[in-house]
């Protein structure tokens, strides 16, 4: 079995599983945020009203954690009410890990999952958000679900899963200096399309992955969601163990591919041959090299989200912005307070401010077009985020170009889509 099959087999008490098998598996960790949380609350209210279930306690509150990320800081009353409801819910059911806006560490749910070491290798982790796939870079089975499924896990501790076929992406070689993991995942999505990974596990391995930092790997698994994958996953190695040890997490049962593990299909990429890429409006699969799009004028550069505002993403942006000025409005939104703090400790905040950019409080707001910097009609944005569907980041007639943090920063400096090598 491969790593995905082995984690599902362990979690469902089976000796062996094959793709296509449907099992009820025990879940180790559950995440909800300020969109899926109130959704879960609503689901429970309805089920209780209909007499289907009685919700007086959760299966295990210690397996649950909650992030306030999509609608913080609250821009209006409905969002504020949702946050308030969420707080009442977590205190009523004894959920201790509730990361609250303005109260120490908080941030985007997927970023917290690794920054706080909330998920360990070998675990089965589900979350009420599609980009839950992100955390698979730590060697866990991580998968996004809607709030009915999350509610079911909260009450029962398990859920049905269909064992996916696995697509294996063997990455050779090192990424060149101006190329990031974001370029690699855009390349893959451009090749296999947004439905090419539909229902599959997308597993990454090879020397190119061993060479990559944990944060870079997280960018890859994060955007497996855009290819439609059930989960993205990478076998854990010493870099992952060290990363978790720095966060005080040392005990877990890491899982690896067996010898002779099967994959539905294997793709090979040479990372050293990649160039800076861009996904043009209105799909993450609409990929071309930045060189073919240079000169497209932009109104905004956005550096944010679970995809593109980890510490090393901010470092990459700082490398470009140091000693330069931005020509268009540029928003840097660190994905969590811990990242914001580290950026400040290392002087990155000064570089951003000197360049003329604004630094915002961690939020998903602008990435999902909800608040905190949405786009106006006909505006064009270069963004380190993960989706560029019509209206995703604001007005239905706005346009988003998805790029690496390096390209987003270089474009901020020129006011046009720019290959960082051309600065």
């Amino acid at each position: 079995m491969n790593i995905t099959e082995k984690i599902l087999a362990r979690a469902s008490g089976k000796d062996k599983l094959e793709p296509g098998d449907v099992v009820f598996a025990d879940v180790d960790k559950v995440m909800l945020h300020d969109v899926s949380g109130p959704g879960v609350i609503k689901t429970f209210e309805k089920l209780e009203k209909d007499g289907v279930v009685k919700v007086d306690k959760l299966f295990d509150p210690s397996m649950v954690w909650v992030a306030e990320d999509h609608f913080v800081p609250s821009a209006e009353k409905i969002s504020a009410e949702n946050i308030s409801k969420l707080s009442k819910f977590t205190s009523k059911f004894g959920i201790k890990k509730h990361f609250k806006y303005g109260l120490g560490q908080y941030g985007i749910c997927h970023t917290l999952s690794h920054e706080e070491g909330l998920v360990s290798p070998g675990e089965l982790y589900i979350g009420g958000d599609s980009h839950t796939n992100t955390t698979g870079a730590l060697g866990a089975f991580a998968c996004g679900l809607g709030h009915t499924d999350v509610a079911y896990v909260l009450l029962n501790g398990n859920l049905w899963f269909k064992v996916p076929e696995t697509l294996y992406f063997k990455i050779n070689g090192k990424l060149p200096e101006h190329v990031m993991a974001k370029d690699l995942i855009l390349k893959i999505i451009g090749d296999i399309t947004t439905e090419g990974g539909a229902g599959y596990a997308m597993q990454f391995g090879g020397s190119g992955i061993s060479d990559m930092s944990v944060e870079s790997r997280l960018t890859l698994t994060n955007m497996t969601t855009e290819a439609g994958a059930k989960n993205g996953i990478i076998e854990p190695d010493q870099k992952v163990f060290d990363y978790l040890a720095e966060r005080g997490v040392t005990e877990y049962d890491a899982v690896y591919d067996d010898d002779g593990a099967q994959y539905e299909k294997t793709y090979e990429y040479d990372a050293s041959e990649l160039e800076p890429l861009v996904a043009k409006p209105f799909s993450p699969q609409n990929v071309s090299v930045v060189q073919e799009t240079t000169g497209i004028e932009i109104d905004k550069s956005y550096i944010g989200s679970c995809t593109g505002a980890k510490y090393e993403d901010l470092e990459a942006v700082a490398k470009i912005l140091k000693g330069r000025k931005v020509k268009v409005r540029t928003e840097v939104v660190p994905a969590a307070i811990s990242i914001y703090k580290k950026a400040a400790e290392n002087g990155l905040d000064k570089i951003f401010l000197d360049a003329g950019a604004v630094i915002g409080a961690p939020t998903c707001g602008a990435c999902c077009g909800a608040h905190m910097g949405v786009l106006a009609k006909d505006e064009v944005c270069v963004s380190t985020t993960n989706r560029n569907f019509p209206g995703r980041m604001g007005h239905i007639d706005s346009k988003t170009y998805l790029t690496s943090p390096l390209v987003a920063a270089a474009s901020a400096v020129t006011g046009k889509l720019t290959d960082p090598r051309d600065l």
Partner: protein, 160 residues
């Protein structure tokens, strides 16, 4: 079930156009219904007064895991979506939350069905009848567990 068709002849209709992100803060089903398909079809609500089936291409419901998407269209009376394929979370949400039937059809069936056709769907026979054109198509049978969850009326009512 029986009803008229709204056809969206395109692939990859994503959850951001089915229910735009700014409305994720809403959780009342009727309120969500007011914004259904707001990102792509301003005439959806008037069409949904007459129709209860959406027919569309590949990868319907791709993008976010928001359960708001099936909730919003079902709140407008949509009882089934017939598509060449579905994004996995949209499919799960539709079934587990018992909002609507996600039915997979083949390319030929897809090409045969037009806007405003009247269909009769019989999931026990895995059959879709086109009453307007007097044609009968096969639908892809639901996998065993999905079929049981649908019959139970959603995941919470299903007893493994």
């Amino acid at each position: 079930m029986k009803g008229k068709v709204i056809k969206y002849d395109q692939d990859n209709i994503d959850t951001d156009v089915i229910l735009p992100g700014q409305y994720l803060k809403l959780h009342d089903h009727a309120e969500l219904g007011e914004h259904a398909m707001e990102g792509m079809d301003p005439n959806f609500h008037s069409k949904a007064k007459e129709a209860n089936i959406i027919v569309t291409g590949k990868n319907f419901g791709c993008g976010s895991s928001r359960e708001h998407a099936p909730i919003a269209i079902s709140a407008c009376g949509i009882e089934a979506v017939l598509a060449l394929s579905f994004a996995r979370i949209f499919y799960r949400n539709s079934v587990d939350g018992a909002y609507l039937l996600p039915i997979e059809i083949d390319e030929k069936t897809y090409a045969s069905i037009s806007e405003n056709d009247e269909l009769e769907i019989d999931t026990s026979k895995n059959e879709v009848k086109n009453l307007t054109k007097n044609e009968t198509y096969a639908m892809k049978p639901f996998p065993d567990l999905i079929s049981k969850i649908i019959k139970a009326g959603g995941l919470f009512k299903y007893k493994p």
